[in-house]
C-alpha cells in the first residue's frame, strides 16, 4: 500500500476497526514509511492519553454508597418480576456482573452455587468463542492494557509460565495471553497447547462470593483441583483467595490434570500478589 491509500485508513487503523488483511498491509507500510508512522504514533499517543485521563479520573468514578444502593435496587427489581419472564441464566449473568462491584456490602452467600455455575458457563463459552472460533463480540485486549483499565491481576499473570513445558505426552506451550469478555464476564485468558489441543486457562475474580467447596467429578488429583464436564468440554478448576481459575479443554481428564498440575502452582503464586 502507498501513503495515499493508507492515510484515509489511519483513523480506522488506530481504532482497530479494519479487517486483518488490511491491518497487516498497513503495518507493512508503516515499517517503511516514517511519515505515516509518525501520524499513527501521534494518534495512538492521544488515544492512550484520553483513555488514561478519563479512565482514572476520580471525579468520574462512582461512590461506593451508590454502588450499594444500586445493587439493592436491582435485586428488588429482579425479585419483583415474575421469574417465568426472565431467563434465569441471563438474569444471573447480568446481576452477577452488576453485583460483583459491591463485594461484601451485599449478602451473597445464597448465590454461591448459582454464581459459580454462571462463571463456569462463561468460562466454557469463552473457550469456545475465543480460543476455538475467534468469534467474541468484543475483541480481546493485551494484558498490559487490561492492567491499566481494570486492575493489577492482569499484570500479575502476564509472565506466568508452567513449572515444566515437557509433559508425558509432549511439549506444553503457552500460545497467547490476553483479557477478554464473554457474556459480561471478563477473564484473564491464557491459551496453552498440549497434544495439539488448545487449553484455555481462564481467571476470574472471586470477590469472596464463592463457597470453599467446588463441584467435582471423581477424585481430584492433588486434592485442590476439581474436574467436571460441561457443555462437552472437560473443565478443571481451582481457586485462590480472590480468584477462581478454570482450565477448559477437549483433553481427557488425565491429560488435563497433567497440564493443570504444572500451571496451577505458578498461577496461584502470581494471584497471591493480587
Amino acid at each position: 500500500m502507498e501513503c495515499r491509500e493508507v492515510r484515509p485508513l489511519i483513523e480506522a487503523f488506530v481504532s482497530e476497526q479494519l479487517l486483518v488483511e488490511t491491518t497487516q498491509a498497513i503495518v507493512a507500510h508503516l515499517e517503511r514509511c516514517a511519515s505515516c508512522r509518525a501520524e499513527v504514533d501521534g494518534l495512538r499517543r492521544m488515544r492512550t492519553a484520553i483513555r488514561s485521563a478519563v479512565g482514572t479520573s476520580a471525579d468520574l468514578s462512582p461512590r461506593p454508597e451508590f454502588l450499594s444502593m444500586l445493587a439493592g435496587r436491582l435485586q428488588t427489581e429482579a425479585a419483583r418480576r415474575r421469574p417465568a419472564r426472565l431467563r434465569r441464566r441471563a438474569w444471573m449473568a447480568i446481576a452477577a456482573s452488576l453485583i460483583v462491584v459491591v463485594g461484601s456490602a451485599v449478602a451473597l452467600r445464597e448465590w454461591s452455587a448459582s454464581t459459580l455455575e454462571a462463571l463456569l458457563h462463561a468460562a466454557v463459552g469463552d473457550h469456545r468463542f475465543c480460543a476455538l472460533t475467534f468469534k467474541l463480540a468484543e475483541p480481546p485486549i493485551p494484558l498490559a492494557e487490561a492492567a491499566q483499565r481494570f486492575g493489577g491481576v492482569h499484570a500479575l499473570l502476564a509472565a506466568v509460565e508452567p513449572d515444566t513445558t515437557t509433559l508425558s505426552g509432549g511439549p506444553l506451550r503457552v500460545m497467547e495471553r490476553h483479557s477478554c469478555v464473554f457474556e459480561g464476564q471478563r477473564f484473564v485468558h491464557i491459551v496453552l497447547r498440549y497434544k495439539d489441543q488448545p487449553i484455555s486457562l481462564l481467571v476470574a475474580s472471586n470477590q469472596g462470593q464463592l463457597s470453599s467447596g467446588l463441584w467435582s467429578v471423581g477424585p481430584p488429583a492433588d486434592g485442590t483441583t476439581a474436574v467436571t464436564v460441561s457443555e462437552g468440554f472437560h473443565v478443571a478448576s481451582f481457586r485462590s483467595a480472590r480468584h477462581v481459575v478454570f482450565a477448559v479443554s477437549s483433553l481427557n481428564d488425565h491429560d488435563l490434570h497433567e497440564v493443570v498440575s504444572t500451571i496451577a502452582g505458578p498461577v496461584s503464586r502470581a494471584l497471591a500478589g493480587a
Binding site: L60, A90, I94, L98, A137
Partner: protein
Amino acid sequence: MPHVDRLFRLAMWWERDRREAEDLVQDALVQALQSFHRFTTGTNCRAWLVTILQHVRSNRRRSAMRRLAVEHPDDRIADHVPFVPAVPQQLTDEDVLGALRGIPELYQDIILLCDVEGLTYKEIADALTIPIGTVMSRLHRGRALLRKQLASSRTVQTDDPEDLTSSRGTR
C-alpha cells in the same frame, strides 16, 4: 467491575452532576434488567448497556429541553484536510480532559465511545442511532479538533474561523 464503573463514567461526563449521573445509570440498568431477554447472547453486553444508557439520556433531554433546529454542519466530510498540528509528546490528564471538554459535545461522545470505551463503529452507530459514515466523519473531525485544542492548550484561543470551539463552545 467494568460495566457499572464505565457506565457511570460516561454518565458523569455527560451530566457533570453526580446525582444526575447516578439517576441516569440507575434508570438505564433497571431498563436493562427489564429487557435483558432481548440481549443476544455472545454479543457485546457492554455496548448494549451503553446503547440503553444513551437512549435514556436522549429521552431525558428531549423531555427537558425545547426542540431546537440543530444542524451539525460538520457531519459532512471536509472537502479538504485542514492543517492539524502534531500531538504533543507530553500530555497531562489535565491537558487532555480540558481539551476534550473544549470540543463540541457531539465529537466528545464519539471520542469517548471509540477511544475510551472501545466500541466498534457499528456499536457506536447503534448506540447513537446515526449512520456508520457519520461516526467515522465525526471521529475524524473530533480528533482533529482535539489535536488543535491540545496544541493550543497553553496559549490564548485564536479567532480562527475553522475552530468551532470559538463559536459553539461546550455544553
